[in-house]
């Protein structure tokens, strides 16, 4: 008897991969909390985010032959591709170019906040978004600043991340 034929679409496979990646990351965090407590696990998580963020953008730049990010339009284009690739479906956001040096990512519903809320740890969780986008900018070779005034404890799942870039 041959195995029962099971078929998944490319979109279903992609969704599963993304979810499992997040799940694996979450399990590392939880097991670290069990071993060392929340503070050390948070410190580890922030260090990991900083490292992986550089890699994820460099890989995307290389795989798409994107070339240099030279102006705000390039940044917007790259952010749009990166967001589709690296944020899960349930993460809701809007991007806006304010002027030639300012790009804003407005998070409407944050996937990290949702997971942290479920775990009941919003009061002590440290948001890694600024760190991640700082690393993205460094990987793109950009000079400037990423600002996010909120943390998990006071964001309620929404925030504005402002990129001020010097060209």
């Amino acid at each position: 008897m041959s195995p029962k034929e099971v078929k998944l679409t490319a979109e279903q496979k992609e969704k599963l991969l993304r979810n499992m990646w997040l799940l694996h990351d979450g399990r590392w965090f939880l097991k670290s909390v069990e071993q060392f407590g929340f503070d050390t696990a948070t410190k580890l998580n922030l260090a990991v985010v900083k490292s992986i963020a550089r890699t994820e953008i460099k890989q995307l730049l290389a795989e798409t032959d994107f070339g240099e990010v030279r102006n705000i339009k390039d940044l917007q284009a790259l952010m749009e591709i990166a967001a589709i690739l690296y944020f899960p479906e349930e993460h809701k956001y809007e991007f806006k170019v304010v002027d030639n040096n300012t790009f804003v990512g407005h998070v409407l519903e944050c996937y990290v906040y949702k997971m942290v809320s479920k775990a009941g740890t919003t009061a002590i969780h440290q948001c890694a978004a600024k760190l991640r986008f700082d690393s993205w900018c460094q990987a793109m070779g950009l000079e400037g600043e990423v600002m996010n005034e909120k943390d998990t404890s006071d964001c309620n799942g929404t925030c504005k991340i402002i990129f001020k870039i010097k060209w």
Binding site: M1, V6, E14, E63
Partner: protein, 167 residues
């Protein structure tokens, strides 16, 4: 800019996922040494594997893994989702109720060797697969029993897994 094909997208997602995992391993190693890192790595990947296979099982619509045929269908579907080209490994079904995994090369071995922790590294790759079997709720035995990294000690790596089904 080049548009990514489906297989290229899959490669990026899996590569980044595995790099993210490696970053956790690396930062954990720096923070707390190899013994605890092995423990956390194995616990995280096994816990992830259990949930991972259940999600795939649900997606492909296999209600229960009651026979070797059910197992084959689910295993092949899962392997098709998570296997990337850079993983030089393969699984075969040499006889009834037996699965064999052979690794020509192992990205985990190569990565851990690079960071100088291979002597004490305990394999996390098969731990994920064992998590799948746990998630499928099937009985199995593994040969050979390996504590560390077989690729490091023997220059090759394989496992033979024998299943017992009630039907």
């Amino acid at each position: 800019m080049k548009t990514l094909k489906k297989n290229e997208l899959k490669e990026i997602l899996i590569k980044n996922w595995m790099t993210h995992d490696a970053m956790w391993f690396y930062h954990c190693l720096q923070e707390c040494g190899i013994e605890k890192t092995n423990k956390i790595n194995k616990a995280a990947v096994r816990a992830m594997g259990i949930i991972e296979i259940r999600r795939i099982q649900k997606a492909v619509g296999i209600e229960k893994v009651a026979t070797f045929e059910d197992f084959k269908s689910l295993f092949e579907a899962a392997w098709d989702i998570v296997k990337a080209d850079f993983m030089k490994s393969g699984f075969s079904l040499p006889s009834e109720n037996v699965l064999r995994g052979d690794f020509e090369r192992c990205f985990a071995y190569e990565g851990i060797k690079q960071i100088g922790a291979i002597e004490q590294y305990q394999c996390g790759i098969f731990e994920r697969i064992y998590g799948w079997f746990d998630g499928m709720e099937i009985k199995y035995g593994v040969s050979p029993q390996v504590e560390g990294c077989m690729m490091h000690t023997d220059g090759k790596c394989f496992r033979e897994i024998t299943f017992t089904f009630d039907k």
